[in-house]
């Protein structure tokens, strides 16, 4: 279900002179003073042109944001306490000049030029907690075309993103249950496609979802097969964080592992889907 749209208009946009705009205004005042003292028509006109440009810039800067529609895209899950990506979709009927987007308290992302139509923007933010989390408020601002005014809007993206527990090294309860072998038909990682590689290895399902061309990596799962559960005697969240780290490592080693958590069990397996299922279980536990 598509998330609700946020349309930038008169009720949602705010505009004030930027610091440069205040300096610009002071310069115009200084030139007016010089023009009065020297009775110079040309200086009068330049001072009035500066004022005229400032007045126009107010409307042009506002125009640069007005009419843009924002909505949330499908974002992948990520670990808490690490920068993760959140997908936003900007829909603009006309081309726009330089914009800046950032989540409150996070690094800004600059768009030098926004073409007409839909544009996907990936913003990063660092969640503090696991579970379904919404990112901080989005701040979209621009000073174009002259930098004299700053126009901005704030929006709380409504669509939550699944956040796995933060990764932390530590003890987990690790047992080796009855081994199951699923063969080599499961891939456990992806990497960018290199020229000349077989097309059959490409993750076409991911391409269809809008991801770049990537190659599936297959590894022999080997003999290792573990069943993980939280270490006893540790705070719950800390135990989950240890499990998240262990799952990540086992996944990268290509090992098979299962997870037992509060009565729910995921049978040992390997691959991205299994890893994501385990981490999701940790996130929502």
């Amino acid at each position: 279900m598509p998330s609700p749209e946020f349309c930038l208009g008169l009720r949602t946009l705010y505009i004030i002179p930027s610091r440069f705009g205040m300096v610009w205004l002071a310069t115009a005042a200084l030139l007016l003073l010089v023009a009065i003292q020297t009775s110079s028509n040309s200086t009068f006109l330049i001072a009035f042109l500066l004022l005229g440009l400032m007045f126009l810039a107010m409307f042009l800067t506002h125009d640069n944001l007005q009419g843009i529609k924002l909505r949330c895209g499908e974002s992948s899950p990520g670990f808490a306490a690490e920068p993760i990506h959140y997908l936003l979709v900007l829909d603009s009927p006309t081309p726009r000049q330089r914009l800046q987007l950032r989540f409150q308290g996070q690094l800004p992302h600059q768009l030098d030029h926004l073409e007409a139509g839909e544009t996907r923007v990936v913003l990063s933010w660092t969640p503090g907690q696991r579970g379904w989390q919404v990112p901080p408020r989005l701040l979209l601002d621009c000073v174009a075309p002259l930098g004299l005014f700053i126009c901005w809007t704030r929006w709380q993206p409504p669509k939550p993103q699944l956040i796995w527990p933060a990764r932390r090294r530590g003890p987990v309860q690790d047992s080796s249950p009855h081994r199951l072998r699923d063969g080599l038909d499961e891939w456990n990682d992806l990497r960018p496609l290199r020229p000349g590689e077989r097309q059959a290895l490409v993750d076409w399902a991911g391409v269809a979802k809008g991801r770049p061309l990537q190659v599936k990596l297959f590894r022999d799962p080997g003999d290792a097969e573990r069943m993980l559960s939280p270490s006893a005697g540790l705070p719950w969240d800390e135990a989950l964080e240890h499990l998240a780290e262990r799952i990540w490592q086992l996944h990268h080693r290509g090992e098979r592992y299962g997870l037992k958590l509060r009565g729910r069990t995921l049978a040992p397996a390997s691959g991205i889907r299994h890893r994501d299922a385990c981490l999701a279980l940790l996130a929502l536990a």
Partner: protein, 590 residues
């Protein structure tokens, strides 16, 4: 580029002007700042420094050439500002177009402010003009020799143009300085005190105007015809009939005079005791004093003046710019009898004072060349070689009356070969470079008349003429006009973003939207056009032609001519499709 234009203008500054140093400092600061700029705020600051420098330059250099360079600087500075905001997305040509577009958009509001914001007189008396620098022209002390040297100089002095062209007369006298102090050898000028601000400027009238442009000089007095009145409050007429300017004389100045309704007061100003006295001991200039005293027998001052004229005409005086050295005026009047205007004027004024008739020497310009440029109005070009001196005598019942004794000497014809050469050089055909200079000055004067003529007084007269008794509505009208100007400006500035809207793909996509065909994700433009052709088979060929031309324009490596050709093809097919789209729209509405 912007800095080069700024530096070229700075080279023309007079460094003795207080404003010239801040201007230089600002230009150099902006150059240095530009070198080390890395952040957006730095680039913006550079552009603002450039605009501020241009404003200060405009206050010091008002000519047509300087104004043109200032306009270029403003456009370039604005382009620099936009270039940073766009992050190199568009070309320089597109940037310049956008700057011009923005400037044109801001111009209506700027003009409304320019015309309606009430001009005020300078808030405090500060001379921001130069205090030194190369000057030429008349000197406050009229040593006869100085005018003789000036008459050999062909340097420009002033240019004047009038509302009534027929009044431009190359025989007119243009007064500058009044020399009332005589020390037995030279006539000195005494600076009149500054009048209070309320005493400056004459009553406004609708009389014809004179526009003057004068070269830098060492004195505050500027040429005028002795009859008009200044319209600016930084100009006033002294009781001796001198036109003074409050601004610095050491830079080119422009001003407007207007024919007053009332008679000019200075001509009826009673002579001071100093105008009457000849403060010389009896043994100094004895022959001059004796001759003057003989005319005291005449009962009327008019008769004494007539006697002096008769005496001059009876003597074998000759005009020469190189008369040789004189011991004193006695030697000139009674021994050598060869001299030029300075000698004749100085001698007659001294004789008249000896005859108890108040008199003084006036220096200024007489003559000049009437120039009819290809562009602009006819004007009188006054050179330093047109410098002249004459006498004013006080005649009871008539006031101060101009008398030119040089005309009494040898029928007023110069007999010196050197001055003949100057005169013939002015009268004969002009060399090409001088012709070009005269044409340029014509344009410059037209600019002065049109642009610099709009001053505080003109604004007041203009508002008075526009609103009459309803002047209180001027503010409301100004606000309404400002709102309209902002609307026009917004229309102009939103009217097109040249770099983007000229893009054939975007324009074609907008056209296709009018047919109800929108691009789907992943669909190429040719595929989109094929789909549109499927929906409107009668236009399929046009859609295909537009797609092919767009593909060529956007992706092919084309020469200039090929690009023009493809652009023409694209325009033609788009125009035909637009006609079809309009027809479809009309039929759908009906």
């Amino acid at each position: 580029m912007t800095h080069i234009v700024l530096l070229v203008q700075c080279l023309g500054l007079n460094l003795s002007a207080p404003l010239s140093w801040p201007t230089w400092v600002l230009v150099i600061c902006s150059m240095l700042k530009r070198r080390e700029s890395r952040r957006a705020v730095d680039y913006r600051l550079v552009a603002l420094l450039q605009l501020l420098s241009t404003g200060l330059l405009a206050a010091q250099m008002e000519g047509l050439l300087a104004s043109g360079l200032q306009l270029i600087t403003v456009i370039l500075a604005l382009s620099g500002l936009l270039a940073h905001e766009l992050g190199g997305v568009v070309s320089w040509a597109a940037l310049l177009r956008r700057s011009l577009q923005l400037l044109l958009a801001a111009l209506p509001l700027a003009l409304v402010l320019f015309l309606f914001v009430p001009r005020v007189a300078p808030l405090w008396s500060t001379d921001l003009g130069p205090r030194g620098g190369a000057v030429s022209g008349l000197s406050p002390e009229m040593d006869p020799l100085s005018i003789g040297q000036l008459a050999r100089s062909d340097a420009p002095a002033a240019r004047v143009t009038l509302d009534e062209e027929e009044r431009l007369n190359s025989n007119s006298y243009w007064r500058v300085l009044v020399h009332e102090q005589f020390d037995g050898r030279s006539w000195r000028h005494e600076d009149p005190p500054f009048p209070p601000r309320s005493g400056r400027g004459g009553p406004l009238s609708a009389g014809p105007s004179q526009w003057w442009r004068v070269e830098p000089s060492a004195i505050r007095m500027v040429p005028w015809d002795g009859a008009a009145q200044p319209v600016s409050t930084d100009q006033w007429i002294s009781s001796e009939g001198e036109l003074l300017m409050a601004s610095s004389p050491r830079r080119p100045r422009s001003y407007r005079l207007q024919q007053g309704l009332s008679s000019v007061g200075w001509q009826q100003q009673q002579p001071q005791p100093r105008d009457r006295a000849l403060p010389l001991p009896p043994d100094h200039l004895p022959r001059l004093q004796a001759l003057g005293r003989t005319w005291r027998d005449q009962p009327k001052d008019v008769d004494r003046l007539a006697a002096a004229e008769a005496w001059f005409r009876s003597q074998p005086f000759r005009y020469s710019l190189a008369p040789g050295a004189f011991v004193d005026l006695d030697a000139f009047l009674f021994d050598q009898q060869v001299g030029f205007c300075g000698h004749y004027a100085g001698a007659l004024a001294a004789l008249m004072r000896a005859a108890d008739v108040p008199s003084r020497v006036v220096s200024g310009y007489q003559g000049g060349r009437l120039v009819r440029p290809l562009g602009g109005s006819p004007y009188l070009d006054l050179r330093q070689s047109d410098a002249h001196a004459w006498v004013e005598v006080w005649l009871t019942g008539q006031g101060w009356k101009r008398v030119d004794p040089t005309r009494w000497a040898g029928s007023g014809q110069p007999s010196d070969p050197s001055i003949d050469a100057v005169v013939s050089a002015q009268a004969g055909p002009v060399p090409w470079w001088r012709w070009l200079q005269l044409q340029w000055w014509g344009l410059d004067l037209a600019w002065t008349r049109w642009w610099l003529g709009f001053d505080q007084a003109t604004q007041a007269a203009w508002l008075q003429a526009l609103f009459g008794e309803q002047l209180r509505w001027a503010g409301l009208v100004a606000v309404v006009l400002a709102a309209i100007a902002v609307g026009v400006g917004l229309m102009l500035s939103r009217g097109g973003w040249p770099g983007f809207h000229r893009d054939p793909l975007q324009r074609s996509l907008r056209l296709l939207k009018r047919f109800g065909v929108k691009a789907m994700p992943g669909e190429s433009f040719p595929a989109l056009c094929r789909r549109a052709g499927g929906l409107r088979p009668e236009l399929a060929l046009e859609f295909q032609a537009m797609a092919e031309a767009q593909q060529q324009l956007d992706h092919a490596l084309l020469g200039r001519r090929q690009r023009q050709y493809q652009r023409k093809l694209w325009r033609q097919s788009r125009a035909r499709l637009m006609v079809s789209a309009s027809r479809s729209g009309r039929s759908a509405r009906s």
